[in-house]
């Protein structure tokens, strides 16, 4: 299972990576951990002519506090997030979610930036970033810009990124020990979520992100509104699947997924986490 031939450049800085992507346009692709890109290249569903490797860019895997936010570098690996004592203290929902991605080996390679940029609605971290109302920091030929996560996902595997833009950082509020819950429902430990629900109570009256309930990562807006209005948890959970569009596949029908979303939200609201 070898991908078709491609050219390879190893970027040593964000600027160099952006220049290479600008120069080669749609034929070029960035590669970080490669754990979403390589599997589809091996199956020959993707055949970029040039891979721009971000893996050698120094100082892009930071996990640090800035004011009332945590700032996380795009190259921080899932295992870095999972095992960071600082992140576990400051944003436990995010550290917990990172620990549920794939298996240890996958978490040693896959990166936060790659997971965010890939735009897969069945990925775990984006739903948590929706619950946290994160900001995506993007860099490109026109300079840096910030995109609220709600405006980042535009379609199935589609994002607000131009082909020559990179995710460089994620910014999330420091939630400390405010209540949260993450529920990932799957048949086997190594599977992707059939449905997942991320819940964070602060800041504001709370955010709820949904995994695999439509073509993109979704916000459970109706449930959030009920929560803000002071509805009881059962009423909130009953609204989990409102305005969603889950697909039916071998893992379950759309109705099954809607049912799961409601059940999983009620568990997440109670602060119960899957392991």
């Amino acid at each position: 299972m070898t991908p078709v031939p491609f050219a390879y450049r190893r970027a040593t800085s964000v600027q160099e990576a952006i220049s290479l992507l600008t120069e080669h346009g749609e034929e070029a692709k960035a590669i970080a951990g490669g754990h979403s890109l390589l599997p589809i290249m091996k199956l020959r569903f993707a055949a970029p002519e040039l891979l721009v490797d971000l893996g050698g860019i120094p100082d892009l895997d930071h996990i640090r506090v800035e004011g009332d936010e945590m700032v996380l570098g795009a190259l921080a690996r899932h295992s870095d997030l999972e095992l960071s004592a600082l992140l576990r203290e400051e944003v436990p929902l995010l550290a917990h979610t990172a620990g549920l991605v794939g298996d240890c080996q996958i978490r040693h390679r896959g990166t936060l930036g790659g997971s965010v940029a890939h735009g897969d609605p069945s990925a775990d971290l984006p739903a948590t970033l929706v619950a946290l109302r994160a900001t995506v920091v993007v860099d490109g030929p026109g300079g840096r810009r910030t995109v609220p996560v709600d405006h980042f996902y535009t379609g199935f595997l589609e994002t607000a990124l131009a082909p020559d833009e990179l995710v460089v950082e994620l910014r999330v509020p420091r939630t400390g020990d405010a209540p949260w819950g993450y529920q990932k429902f799957r048949r086997r430990g190594i599977d992707w979520a059939i449905v997942g629900v991320a819940y964070q109570s602060e800041p504001g009256a709370g955010g709820i992100g949904l995994v695999n309930m439509g073509p993109t990562t979704l916000r459970a807006a109706a449930a959030e509104e009920a929560l803000r209005a002071g509805a009881d948890p059962a009423q909130v959970a009953a609204l989990a699947d409102q305005d969603t569009a889950p697909v039916g596949d071998a893992s379950g029908s759309p109705e099954y997924r809607r049912h799961l979303a409601r059940v999983l939200l009620s568990r997440a609201l109670a602060g119960r986490n899957s392991s």
Binding site: A7, S79, I190
Partner: protein
């Protein structure tokens, strides 16, 4: 683009030795280890990041070498099962697999052992449940896992005691 069939010269450090290999960027680390460096201790099972038979250490952490390009290994320290024993003296994890009967056919074993070295080092071998969770990316069709988990816990105890 005409450059897409290019080959590159890669300095790849495996088991403490730096090899200069000329290869295509599309070559997977597992294939380079097995076919070019002759390190066939690393097995290739599923080729789809599912079974863990191809697990090696990159900078001390377990990685599935079927889902990493060899060129991504540039400047990193790759370690395979061949480098674990010190001459005739087995690594504590290898010794524990032998002692606890943590293998039958042995196909999954190199990957299991490398994954275990990494998870013990990360402090994940605290109890049976954490070992099972940390090994979920490694499949074994023979043992039923019971003795593998026992081996990892036993090795972890020994390594901890030696610290």
């Amino acid at each position: 683009m005409t450059e897409s069939t290019e080959t590159v010269t890669l300095d790849l450090t495996v088991n403490g030795r730096t090899h200069q290999v000329e290869l295509e960027p599309r070559e997977l680390l597992v294939d380079v280890l097995r076919e070019r460096l002759g390190l066939t201790g690393t097995n290739l099972g599923c080729e789809t990041t599912s079974c863990g038979a191809c697990t090696v250490l990159v900078d001390g952490r377990s990685v599935k070498s079927c889902t990493m390009l060899a060129v991504q290994g540039q400047g990193r320290d790759v370690r395979t099962i061949e480098d674990l024993a010190d001459g005739e003296v087995l690594h504590p994890v290898q010794a524990a697999f032998q002692r606890c009967h943590g293998l039958q056919c042995g196909f999954c074993t190199p990957g299991m052992v490398m994954a275990s070295v990494s998870l013990i080092d990360e402090g994940r071998a605290t109890d049976e449940q954490s070992v099972r969770a940390a090994l979920k990316g490694n499949l074994c069709r023979c043992t039923g896992y019971q003795n593998i988990v026992a081996a990892v816990l036993s090795a972890a105890q020994e390594i901890e005691a030696d610290r």
